[in-house]
């Protein structure tokens, strides 16, 4: 078990399987909101779903309308359980507040080294990763 800590922007608890994107994510156009499946051609995670996962990525990109997509995904049950970032961008912050999705950023050590599929639990600004 490895413990990470950061700054919680939207405070909450969640746990799930890690989905780690090394590239920035755009919610508008990059993800199919009806399924949660990543459809961005530039993403190494294309075809995987963010639904119920602990989504980890460096920062966001793309249209600010992406915040509404995060809100819509929560309503439809396709949203990630929590989001962990190096540095949160406005699109993700606004979307997570609207949707009530726990969001932690400025995480140490670097959260991008968390392995895909690890069990992750988020408690406020604490992140526990079970790599077994």
């Amino acid at each position: 078990m490895v413990t990470y800590s950061g700054k919680a922007i939207v405070k909450g608890n969640a746990s799930g399987e890690a989905l780690v994107s090394l590239k920035p994510i755009s919610f508008l156009g990059g993800i199919d909101p009806s399924t949660g499946i990543i459809k961005d051609d530039a993403s190494e995670l294309k075809g995987q779903t963010v639904k119920g996962r602990i989504l980890i990525y460096p920062t966001g990109k793309g249209s600010t309308v992406g915040s509404y997509v995060i809100y819509g995904m929560k309503k439809m049950g396709t949203a990630p359980a929590a989001i962990i970032m190096r540095e949160a961008d406005t699109v993700t912050i606004v979307g997570c507040v609207l949707a009530g999705i726990p969001l932690v950023h400025r995480v140490r050590p670097d959260p991008l080294q968390i392995r895909n599929g690890s069990r992750v639990s988020v408690t406020y600004d604490q992140i526990n990763v079970d790599d077994q």
Binding site: K7, I9, V10, L28, P33, S63, T64, V65, S67, Y68, V69, Y71, G72, M73, K75, A88, T90, V91, I93, V94, C96, V97, L98, H105
Partner: protein
């Protein structure tokens, strides 16, 4: 959903994340991201949920272009389905008290701008307006997103960081523009692109050698290009910017040769004339103001009829001005298509299937992205059309 409470919660989270110095009051707000093309059903539903609260904005809040001309959408070839969704977006916004300006230039050209004073804090979500406002009007705005600007409208507040603070409004680089001084929106747009591409260095460029000669249309083109290609939210220039120091600052110097801009613009014209030329022309990114519309009408004064497709985008506040209205009417008589409330980047129409020509450096970047069409730059639409015989002379 309680609109005010939710808005305050979002702004507080943003303020904490950006380590802002608390919250400050804004004089007005300008909301973007309202075309159904970008919003989709998720955005539409969110805005309708928000509007169902019955709450209204607490400071005057204007709106960016939507996905269609509210009157002429059928003529634009917009589908019934798209139109009905767009009208639902608009009605949700209007229920929230947002003014139906549907313009990217209203914040600095519309009637509220007369009351703005240097130092006023605002929350604008149109990047070209943010640069123009910070630089030419001396107002203070960060480059907001559509949702954050709406929440500033609902609360009258914005997190106090970035361009709201004095320390971030100081020149970071000195741009020396050498003679000749750029002419026309294309050359000024190219200047903005060159500066923007300097990256972090170009946060607040002090531009030397352009004072007092720029027209409003040229400053709009410069602002739009700076915002499109760089991190720039403000430039400083003597006789233009209220905050420009009278002496060039002692910071890193970058020289831009005016002849290069001229050549770049001329070679764009040559390429356009020799290449397989598109027959569609798009003017008005940012949307044309009165000054630009009147100028275009004057250029066309000798022209009887336009043969190719010329699309000009403008705003309601321009067409409700007498001179703007007259210019628009005379252009329409010659076959120029004039639309308001919208722009090709935010609208499914026109599709520009054969490519398009424009003098806007900003839209030459966004059109290929959003519509996957080739957008060719050219300096003055009229010189080009004369060259290929698209205008029937008097």
């Amino acid at each position: 959903m309680k609109a005010y409470d939710l808005a305050l919660e979002v702004l507080t989270a943003l303020s904490e994340a950006k380590e802002a110095d608390g919250m400050i009051k804004v004089v007005n707000a300008h909301v973007s991201g309202i075309s159904y093309l970008n919003l989709g059903d998720y955005g539409l539903e969110f805005l309708e949920d928000l509007a169902a609260s019955g709450e209204k904005v607490r400071v005057p809040t204007s709106s960016n272009p939507c996905g269609m001309d509210r009157e002429l959408w059928r003529e634009q070839g917009i589908s019934e389905d798209f139109a009905s969704k767009q009208l639902r977006v608009n009605s949700a916004l209007e229920k929230l008290g947002v003014s139906p300006t549907y313009s990217c230039t209203f914040p600095y050209e519309g009637k509220w701008s007369a009351n703005l004073r240097p130092g006023d804090h605002v929350a604008w979500a149109e990047s070209s307006a943010v640069v123009y406002g910070n630089s030419v009007l001396g107002i203070r705005s960060n480059r907001e997103g559509g949702p954050s600007a709406l929440f500033s409208g609902l609360t009258g507040l914005t997190p106090n960081y970035g361009m709201h603070l004095n320390e971030n409004r100081k020149p970071t680089v000195l741009i020396k523009v050498e003679q000749p001084i750029p002419k026309g929106p294309l050359e000024w747009g190219l200047l903005g692109k060159k500066i923007g591409e300097l990256g972090e260095l170009a946060r607040v460029p002090y531009i030397d050698g352009i004072g007092r000669v720029a027209t409003k249309g040229e400053l709009k083109a410069l602002s739009a290009a700076l915002a499109t290609f760089g991190p720039t939210d403000m430039f400083l220039a003597r006789n233009i910017s209220p905050e420009a120091p009278s002496q060039p600052p002692k910071v890193e110097v970058v020289t831009v040769d005016g002849r290069e801009l001229e050549e770049e613009s001329r070679s764009a014209l040559d390429r356009a004339i020799s290449g397989g030329t598109p027959r569609a022309f798009f003017l008005g990114c940012p949307q044309y103001g009165v000054e630009e519309l009147v100028y275009l009408a004057r250029l066309f004064s000798e022209v009887k009829k336009v043969k190719g497709d010329i699309f000009v985008y403008t705003s309601s506040h321009v067409l409700s001005d007498q001179a703007g209205f007259r210019a628009a009417e005379s252009l329409k008589e010659k076959g120029v298509k004039i639309f308001r409330d919208t722009c090709p980047v935010f609208s499914p129409a026109p599709a520009f299937s054969g490519g398009v020509m424009t003098d806007s450096v900003k839209s030459s970047f966004y059109l290929p992205q959003s519509k996957r069409v080739k957008a060719t730059l050219e300096p003055t639409v009229v010189s080009f059309m004369l060259a290929i015989g698209e205008l029937e002379g008097a």
